[in-house]
């Protein structure tokens, strides 16, 4: 126990607990600074590129507007004035689609997540398998035998109900909440390309192609697992007493859920909502399949800037910039929520 510190200690050991020693501190800042550069440089390059005219892009790199090249607003002008509505429409679409589907997903997903934490479900394994079997049969009869799909669906449903009331009673083995939760979460494993073609046909049949509705429904389905996953754990951390006392006071389950549970889970809801919003906002593949003109979203606009002439870097940069600006703004405001909400899901998941 000596107060005299060796050189090693001076360099590598902090003086007190609130302090960081010079060498680790310097290293920390170097690394963090480097990663800041890594994170920001691509964004900087986008901004710079958005002010270049084509020849300035193709003529090799130029770094500083006003210093090594003369900035031009032509790309901004093209996106906002020339394209005008063709920019604004996808923008509004993206806003409408991502916000509504995020809200729906959060509501439906938290209902399911809540139910899975508080209500015990015991669906019989046999009836579940039977249901899937009937579904397979229905699909086959539509696709293969060319049966009209409303008929097939109705008869399939009828068949299932009949079977459930007769054979269904004998099933013993049943599933539990965790199985259901796992089933929901496992949907996230599906590669979108595997399911997007049938979804396209589905929406085409019910006449919803190229509408906001199609995208909203699909995004809701894609993001439900995440919501269920995150919210389930959030609800688990809410003490039971609250609900029980409300139930004793005569509140229905719905009232308990909407007036007690949801307000209590605000941070979790906010974080989940944001995460889902970001995912919807940036989604490309499904939007590509399901939208043509009316419901086109921004990621498509980005990809669209890759014309036969090759990528129109300058336009693309503008589109990407206007696309990320609102998300970054929201994130700056609500960042703490994201961290917390994400954590609870991940820690307990």
């Amino acid at each position: 126990m000596s107060t005299k510190r060796s050189i090693y200690q001076i360099l590598f050991e902090a003086k007190s607990i609130d302090d960081v020693a010079p060498v680790p501190k310097t290293l920390t800042y170097i690394i963090l600074g480097f990663w800041t550069f890594v994170c920001l440089f691509p964004l900087y390059w986008l901004i710079v590129t958005s002010f270049k005219i084509p020849i300035q892009v193709h003529d090799g790199p130029m770094y500083f507007p006003g210093i090594d090249f003369k900035p031009s607003m032509h790309a901004w002008y093209y996106i906002f004035v020339d394209l005008g509505n063709d920019t604004l429409r996808p923008y509004f679409n993206t806003i409408i689609v991502s916000i509504s589907s995020s809200i729906i997903a959060v509501v439906i997903g938290s209902m399911a997540g809540y139910a899975l934490t508080r209500i015990t479900y015991q669906p019989k394994l046999g009836s579940v398998l039977m249901f899937i079997g009937t579904l397979v049969l229905t699909v086959i009869s539509v696709v293969w035998l060319g049966l009209a799909w409303p008929i097939a669906l109705a008869s399939g449903l009828a068949l299932y109900v009949v079977m459930l009331t007769t054979v269904g009673r004998r099933f013993k083995k049943s599933l539990h909440n965790n199985d259901i939760a796992f089933f929901m979460i496992s949907q996230r494993i599906l590669p979108p390309v595997a399911v997007v073609i049938p979804i396209y046909v589905l929406f085409q049949r019910i006449g919803l192609l190229d509408t906001h509705a199609a995208l909203i429904i699909t995004y809701t389905a894609v993001n439900l697992p995440i919501v269920v996953w995150l919210m389930r754990d959030f609800f688990e951390s809410i003490p039971m007493d609250l609900e029980e006392s409300a139930a004793l006071d005569g509140a229905s389950r719905y009232r308990v859920f909407f007036t007690i549970i949801l307000p209590l889970s605000k941070p979790g809801l906010a974080a989940t909502f944001l995460l889902v919003l970001i995912l919807c906002w940036n989604e490309y593949l499904i939007a590509l399949f399901l939208s043509t003109a009316n419901a086109q979203t921004l990621p498509l606009l980005v990809a669209a800037m890759n014309a036969t002439r090759g990528p129109q870097w300058w336009y693309m940069a503008v589109v990407i910039i206007i696309m990320i600006t609102p998300v970054i703004a929201i994130t700056i405001v609500l960042q703490r929520f994201i961290t917390r909400g994400l954590l609870i899901g991940a820690v307990k998941g």
């Binding site: 126990m1 107060t3 510190r5 050991e13 007190s16 302090d19």
Partner: protein, 352 residues
């Protein structure tokens, strides 16, 4: 090893958590830092441990100034309120961890673990994980982990507060015995005065970051330095009466107690402990009050009487009986009276 705090101050933003505290802790002493929650006692303890930096003042452990010494070089051990056991380590691993960090070899470590475990009666539980233990057992693990490496100083942060009353009493006794046996300087933080009184050789009372009084438990009880200490120590708490001094007599509406001090003075608070008052049937009494409630606690009866809306608590023996709403005569043991200056809260002492 002795520990000295010289004028230490700690600020968190605008809040002064510890304000110019001076403490002198002797070698082998068991010192309790007592105070209500938020009084800065835990901060002071953490500053001794090195877990908080020191804004002003100096801390000495032994003869070394340790302001700029990292915790690991201070050779202190700390028991946390939450025990801070490592959940993924067995009891044995938890206890042995400080030794492992010091590079003690395995056989030696094993021996130390077993010895220490035996000392705190954990030898049966060495293979369990913390979550498989009861509160008291966890507490003992935390203790064992502190003991195992025989530090210069023990620091304990409300180690018993998470236990139930019965277990707390038992652990208190064990702790005291252990400390006595090991003879290691111990600084113990608590908000529980009974713990403080029973464990400490000396008690240091803190309030709002300021050290109020430091003395033996007995002296603190019998000779509080100020209003805060007087009110904080003792259960039921001391009765306080606001009034003034007239030629040595304490006067307030409906009450006059003679010869408690000297001279005349306004804004005086008179303090008297419940056990130093007595309800008398007849004879000379200083206070007349209305009986408000009578509570039998077993070996004694706590009587509350009202005097001008002020509650007076009197401790009577268990046979006392009285009717509520009846006027009673209370006699005060004048030699046990404390006088305080109402403005500063300071004790007014007279040379006798």
């Amino acid at each position: 090893m002795k520990v000295q705090l010289k004028n230490i101050t700690k600020r968190f933003g605008d809040v002064v958590a510890v304000n110019q505290v001076n403490l002198d802790i002797k070698e082998g002493e068991f010192l309790v830092l007592l105070g209500p929650s938020g009084c800065g006692k835990t901060t002071a303890l953490r500053m001794i441990a090195g877990l908080e930096s020191i804004d002003e003042g100096d801390i000495y452990i032994g003869d070394k100034r340790v302001n700029d010494v990292l915790p690991k070089y201070r050779d202190v051990a700390m028991v946390f309120q939450s025990y801070a056991l490592y959940p993924h380590m067995t009891v044995a691993a938890n206890i042995g961890y400080p030794l492992k960090l010091r590079g003690v070899d395995k056989t030696e470590r094993q021996e130390a673990i077993i010895n220490t475990a035996r000392l705190v009666r954990l030898d049966e539980l060495l293979d369990r994980y913390p979550k498989q233990l009861s509160g008291g057992q966890r507490q003992r693990v935390a203790l064992a982990r502190a003991i195992v490496r025989r530090p210069q100083v023990f620091l304990m942060d409300e180690p018993l507060s998470n236990l139930d009353a019965k277990l707390r009493g038992k652990m208190r006794a064990e702790l005291k015995h252990l400390q006595h046996e090991l003879g290691i300087t111990t600084i113990y933080v608590t908000h529980d005065q009974i713990e403080a009184m029973t464990l400490a050789q000396r008690v240091a009372i803190m309030s709002q970051g300021v050290l109020q009084q430091i003395n033996t438990p007995k002296n603190i009880y019998n000779d509080p330095d100020n209003l805060f200490v007087a009110g904080f120590i003792g259960s039921p708490t001391m009765n306080f009466l606001n009034g003034e001094l007239e030629d040595g007599d304490f006067v307030m509406t409906g009450c006059r107690i003679k010869k408690v001090g000297k001279g005349s003075r306004e804004n005086i608070i008179l303090g008297i402990r419940p056990e130093d008052m007595q309800i008398i049937a007849n004879g000379e009494s200083q206070i007349q009050a209305m009986l408000y409630s009578v509570e039998l606690t077993g070996d004694q009866t706590i009587v509350t009487a009202k005097l001008n809306e002020i509650d007076l608590t009197v401790r009577e023996d268990k046979d006392y009986s009285g009717r509520i709403d009846q006027m009673v005569q209370i006699r005060v043991d004048q030699s046990k009276i404390f006088l305080f200056d109402a403005a500063s809260g300071k004790r007014i002492r007279y040379e006798t």
